[in-house]
Amino acid sequence: MGAISLRKVVKRYGTGAAANQVIHGVDAEVSDGEFVVIVGPSGCGKSTLLRMVAGLEEITSGEIAIAGRVVNQLEPAERDIAMVFQNYALYPHMTVFENMAYGLKIARVPMAEIRARVDKAAAILELAPFLARRPRELSGGQRQRVAMGRAIVRQPAVYLFDEPLSNLDAKLRAQTRLEIQKLHRELRTTSLFVTHDQVEAMTLAERMIVMNAGRMEQIGTPDEVYHRPATTFVAAFIGSPPMNLVRGEAQGTGFRSGGQVLSLPAPVPRAGELVLGIRPEHVELGSDVAAGGWPVKVQALEMLGAERLVYGTLGETLFTARLDATARHPAIGDVVNIAARPEHMHWFDAATSMRVGH
């Protein structure tokens, strides 16, 4: 089946001094049957990377292999892939059946087999009643399923999804997310899924690739990425509200930031300029302002139903804490002491933004 290898993949538009490099040497291995999500802010190069795998963008340098075969020079149709586009890209003048059958027809698959494969895909996706309709007679969710059906009937080694859920409304998106998960459990086909939505990324991915500015920041399971972010970018990008990041000078169990020295429950992994990261849900609030504590002045409160967000400032830095909605909470203007357990503290090198320590 289809493992994908990306080796030092580079994409550059233009040549010479005017060249604009958008992918800076990405290395990644996706094993057979794995569901990998590429996530990053817009303009980070995630779609370009996917389109390079699909063969819709040329590879400037490096190598992409699908199922052990280097595909750099192959046409999209020869790469044994199927792609689901953000706006579905259904042929508007063809019926649902013709849309799904078109690729097979070109590949000269016998009509009987085309019928069988389309019927099977239609059954999986509950599209059977709509086979004779045209895309414009379908709802957004149904079109989305036709686009997936078109991918399924090709029985490719790899599925490529380019933000396929972003044109759906929130409810349908959650539902389709579940369907994609179910589909992947049944078919076990290698999938690359591009999204800018971290919820999609966390829920769908077996492993996720976090990209920023054309570079791969981290590749790992959602657990790893969430609990051990490799860089400050990942720490800030994954998680909502984002991780609190405080920059300062670390020495032993002291952390000098914004003119005050904060005492730490455990020694820092390394002395020097560091960034301390603490997730809002790991922030503990105490009322007594003890010496060496971390005084936070509460600026705003947000009640979200199950939880409550407390926004405050620690010195100059904005600091967020997330409390259970039923827990006792401070009032606006209060100064509270905050604390966190050593295992919930993430340390990053201030210069390189790379993770330091465990």
Binding site: G55, E75, P76, A77, F85, A89, P92, H93, I106
Partner: protein
């Protein structure tokens, strides 16, 4: 927006009615004249009800023959055939060529692509009338005078249609091209299976326009045909006006004019639905 009031309704209906009369009355008059005998026509005022001579006049116009006043009438039937063939070749040729050139300009990256497009576009400023003498020279040197090739080929290239198809192709989403590539469709396959079906309404609209354009050609055939068998009907009408003292067969001339109007009118009527859709509709 516009207020509806009885007065306004009345005024707009009057304006419409005047418009209809201005357009339709001459056509009606032509038709009435074509049903009368030559003697009836020249009486003043001419009768405004149909005469009794319709069948004879039209038979004479279509198949030619001797008139009651002793003149000869050459058959209009054959001229209509020439016009029909010419108009069809021009319309179909224009559509085929502009579809392909628009396809090349929009979907292929070749050197000087935009220069090519602008060159085509600039020829919009050079209608047949402007380039008629050089074109005549070329056609004459190629030995295409008095032939269908000579009648049609110089009129086939069309910047308007190329431009229209280009604009339409630009609105086709890129993802459709990419989906077709992933489905394994080559360029011509994509053209045939996706672009052509999507362009049907534009093609229909253009066919109507170009058919009428081809049918109404006058100056070019006048210049390059000298053989009776290659005269299109629009020219034929003009040639029926006798010079000097000869009396004009007004009833036959009017019948010919009506016959010249029928095919374009039929094309418009039959294709009206698509025509309007093609001009108005941006649906994809």
């Amino acid at each position: 927006m516009i207020e509806r009031s009885p007065v306004f309704d009345f005024v707009s209906h009057v304006v419409l009615a005047i418009g209809v009369v201005v357009i339709a009355f001459p056509v009606y008059l032509t038709f009435i004249a074509s049903t009368q005998t030559p003697q009836e026509i020249i009486q003043a005022p001419m009768s405004l009800v149909p005469g009794s001579n319709m069948i004879e006049t039209y038979r004479l116009a279509l198949f030619g023959g001797e008139t009651s006043m002793g003149g000869r009438v050459s058959p209009v039937g054959h001229m209509m055939w020439v016009s029909l063939v010419t108009a069809l070749i021009i319309a179909i040729g224009k559509i085929a060529i502009s579809l392909l050139s628009a396809f090349a300009i929009v979907y292929f990256r070749f050197p000087f692509r935009s220069l090519v497009f602008w060159m085509i576009f600039v020829t919009l400023m050079l209608p047949v009338e402007v380039r008629i003498f050089p074109t005549y020279k070329v056609v004459a040197d190629l030995g295409m005078l008095n032939s269908y090739a000579g009648l049609t080929i110089p009129l086939i290239a069309s910047a308007t249609a190329t431009f229209l198809f280009r604009q339409f192709f630009l609105t086709v989403p890129d993802e459709l091209v990419e989906a077709a590539r992933i489905d394994g469709a080559g360029p011509m396959r994509f053209f045939k299976d996706v672009l052509l079906p999507l362009s049907t309404t534009s093609i229909a609209a253009l066919f109507v326009i170009q058919f009428i354009y081809g049918w109404n050609q006058y100056l070019w055939p006048l210049l390059m045909t000298s053989d009776d068998s290659m005269y299109p009907i629009v020219m034929g009408i003009k040639r029926m006006f006798g010079g000097g003292d000869a009396a004009n067969e007004w009833n036959v001339i009017m019948a010919t004019a009506i016959l010249a109007m029928v095919p374009p009118a039929l094309v418009v009527l039959l294709m009206q639905r698509w025509f309007v859709k093609g001009l108005v509709d941006a649906e994809k």
